[in-house]
């Protein structure tokens, strides 16, 4: 095919559940390509010699390489190429902000002057991974001979899953410790089923077990046992800390402790992890919000507002103090939220939450904003318009303005260096912390970031751990 012919192929739209129907069920919104669609979409790739898309990929997947195989219908080879650098393609294909990463740099999108018309790299990636998983044709992974070294992996989010897998493959004895009763981190408690089916996360965790990783749930390192004791008493030779950014930020506005105000973490955890939406079956109670305001503009805010619709809200307002342009959420999620009926209130911000005499939310006072001069981050900073207060009639407020890093491990681990924000400081090449043999990665190092970056960190740390454990062996 000539480049011209490739450019003439129409971008393949993602089959989706109808917006009105899906707003009331938990099933996945994006249904996935058929093999034919995946092949066609992959055929759009121009095989640019400079591979611009790869620059945008945080783990430098050989994108034209896997797309060439997929275009031939050889999805197994495509997956093999992806797996060289990415461990979680079924997850990343679904949740990566592709429009800001690989697809942002894609020549096709540039030529057609629309990033939405770039090659849909993520969707093809997802197809390859789904096909292998659903047909049971994933290539078995083999582990190197046992090294006799023990590695403790703390947390079970994407950073930890990756680090555990790589360490197990290198022949180390790996034990994963997770505070919750289920593994997956944000992938199980935060990101909803309708965006990332939990069966996929379970499959990845099962994969770890097949590699011989021991999993200890309901084990809070720092409390059940300190990091130092894992090393001193339990004989672990190296420790990886992948405990995430699980400390919800609030806005510090009046009324935030009223009944009906939730952090997005609580709201989503009740629904996702504790299955509160199965009312009458799940024991964790369900909050019947009819008019819900969600504060924030990231993925977390999109998930919370779309979850509110699915939990039966009649009206969901999304309150964000900048404009659509500055919204950090994945573009597709913003689009889906709008389609499903979330009411976007841009350039507005919550000022005060109002409550009745029993302490329940009954309103939200907001202020209108306008965009001023660009701030340090280059984004135009929002400036409140004096006297523009107005009140929204709501019974529920979900605060989704970000997460800070969980201080439990730093607070219980002597000598572990953290920065001003409480993130663990690591050597950028090995991900080793200030304590020899203790490594860290993911959101606990980066601050609230992304799945792909967490995965990349887990991988780099595993390499660091290998080098550290084997240095006296070579």
């Amino acid at each position: 095919m000539t480049p011209k012919e490739r450019m003439a192929i129409a971008p393949q739209a993602m089959p989706e559940q109808d917006a009105q129907v899906r707003a009331h069920n938990m099933n996945e919104v994006a249904l996935g390509y058929t093999a034919e669609m995946a092949k066609t979409e992959a055929s759009r790739c121009l095989q640019c010699p400079t591979k611009p898309c790869m620059q945008g990929c945080p783990v430098a997947i050989d994108i034209p390489g896997f797309l060439a195989a997929a275009a031939e219908g050889d999805f197994a080879t495509a997956l093999k190429i992806i797996r060289k650098t990415s461990l979680l393609p079924a997850v990343c294909g679904r949740v990566c902000p592709q429009e800001k990463q690989c697809q942002k740099f894609c020549t096709m999108g540039k030529v057609l002057k629309d990033v939405d018309k770039a090659v849909a790299i993520g969707r093809v990636e997802r197809f390859c991974a789904d096909l292998a998983r659903e047909s049971g044709t994933e290539e078995p992974v083999t582990c190197a001979p046992k090294t006799g070294r023990k590695v403790a992996v703390i947390g079970s989010g994407p950073a930890s899953i990756t680090c555990a897998a790589d360490c197990a493959k290198a022949g180390h004895d790996v034990t994963m410790f997770e505070a919750f009763h289920k593994c997956g981190g944000v992938l199980v408690y935060g990101i909803p089923e309708f965006r990332l089916p939990k069966s996929i996360v379970r499959h990845e965790v099962e994969g770890l077990k097949k590699l011989g990783v021991t999993i200890e749930t309901n084990y809070c390192v720092g409390r059940t046992r300190k990091v130092a004791d894992l090393i001193r008493k339990d004989g672990f030779d190296a420790v990886f800390v992948g405990t995430g950014a699980g400390l919800p930020k609030f806005m510090d506005i009046p009324g935030e402790n009223l009944n009906g105000v939730f952090s997005a973490n609580e709201y989503l955890t009740r629904a996702n992890l504790m299955k509160a939406y199965l009312e009458g079956e799940a024991d964790t109670p369900f909050w019947h919000g009819k008019k819900v305001a969600v504060l924030g503009g990231g993925n977390v805010a999109m998930d919370a507002s779309r979850m509110a619709l699915r939990l039966g809200a009649e009206k969901v307002y999304l309150i964000y103090r900048r404009s659509l342009e500055e919204m950090p959420a994945r573009k597709e999620e913003v689009h889906h939220a709008k389609e499903e009926g979330v009411d976007f209130h841009l350039l507005e911000n919550a000022k005060r939450i109002l409550g009745d005499d029993k302490g329940f939310v009954n309103g939200l006072e907001c202020l209108r904003y306008e965009l001023g001069a660009p701030d340090a981050s280059g984004r135009r900073s929002p400036v409140p318009i004096a006297g523009s207060e107005f009140t929204l009639d709501v019974d529920t407020v979900v605060v989704a303005v970000g997460n800070a890093s969980n201080p439990l491990i730093p607070a219980t681990t002597e000598g572990l260096e953290v920065n001003r924000r409480g993130n663990i400081v690591v050597d950028p090449e090995t991900n080793m912390t200030s304590i020899p043999g203790v490594f860290a990665g993911g959101d606990i190092v980066l601050g609230a970031a992304t799945v792909i970056l967490a995965m990349g960190e887990g991988r780099r740390a595993a390499a660091g751990i290998n080098a550290y454990l084997m240095k006296d062996r070579s």
Binding site: A179, F180, H181, K182, Y189, T217, N218, Y219, C220, R223, T224, R225, G246, L247, P248, F250, D252, E256, N257, L258, N259, G260, F262, S263, N265, E266, T269, R270, M274, K275, L278, G280, E281, A282, D283, T284, P285, F286, W287, K358, G359, F360, N406, P407, L408
Partner: protein, 284 residues
């Protein structure tokens, strides 16, 4: 899986269970709690204080009152059954006068209802640190008292029993003997555990005397690791997470009215769930 190795009914609706949890038994300190689940698929996570622990046997003791769906289900489990999940020890340990830099002195422990159970390890530790320990145990009536013998073993003659109806000990509220002790002027510290309304009035009672008063809060929780903020309270005007910053706080700084309201957030749903479980057990 944490096996139940012994079970005892202490009163109409209060049960004691000893559960296998070797690591927790080793690590726990007075004032800490666990979060348990009966069923990991659809169960709820509930916090209970570690009333006692036996590191040699690798067990912890829980004492709980059946107030809703999960505690009811828990009370139906028997020796040999297992809990699906036990996470802990959570929260900061109690700061024990005499062992924390403050000189030992006279500490008054006020336990209301089931709050006596979590008070037990604290009173033990206070005694061991050389304090004079007075214990005030309050309940609506005699049948609701738990651990009277254990508490007497610690406080001896300084155990004060008081009931709403006078069916055991003095008739009245825990705040009355507390006020008299403060009045007499020989109290260095007060620790209160019980229903929030009781803790609120304990704080109001000691405030005029400027006696340091600590309360152990029992807010609604989910994860217990600081991840959700569901357990938050206002203390001295700042928002604190009970599961990681507490559970104990300066009782004079806690916004009790707000906490009382927050504990009622899910009351209708909880009542419905309890009825549902009660009906299930009726059918058996």
């Amino acid at each position: 899986m944490n096996k139940i190795v012994s079970k005892k009914q202490l009163s109409d609706n209060v049960f004691q269970m000893e559960v296998e949890a070797a690591l927790i038994a080793n690590e726990r300190k007075a004032g800490q709690f666990i979060i348990l689940m009966i069923d990991e698929a659809l169960g709820e996570r509930i916090p209970l204080t570690i009333a006692d622990a036996d590191p040699a046997r690798g067990t912890i003791t829980l004492i709980f009152q059946t107030v809703g769906a999960t505690t009811l289900k828990l009370s139906k489990l028997n020796v040999g059954d297992a809990l699906a999940a036990v996470l802990g020890p959570l929260g900061r340990p109690t700061s024990i006068r005499g062992a924390n830099g403050e000189p030992a002195g006279h500490v008054v422990c006020v336990g209301g209802g089931i709050g006596v159970a979590p008070m037990h390890p604290i009173a033990q530790a206070l005694k061991a640190a050389g304090n004079k320990v007075t214990i005030i145990m309050g309940a609506r009536n005699k049948s609701l008292f738990v651990m009277e013998d254990e508490m007497r073993a610690i406080a001896g003659d300084d155990l004060i029993l008081i009931t709403d109806d006078g069916s055991s000990g003095r008739k009245g509220l825990v705040t009355e003997p507390l006020k008299e002790l403060c009045e007499a002027g020989a109290v260095d510290e007060v620790i209160a555990i019980g229903p929030p309304i009781m803790m609120k009035f304990v704080a109001l009672t000691t405030k005029p005397y400027g006696v340091k008063t600590v309360a152990s809060l029992n807010t609604i929780m989910i994860d217990g690791t600081g991840m959700c903020g569901g357990c938050r309270v206002s203390v001295g005007g700042a928002t604190k997470f009970v599961c990681v910053d507490g559970p104990e706080f300066d009782a004079h700084q806690v916004d009790w009215d707000q906490m009382l309201k927050r504990m009622g957030a899910f009351r209708p749903q909880e009542a419905a769930a309890k009825d549902h479980v009660c009906n299930l057990y009726k059918g058996i």
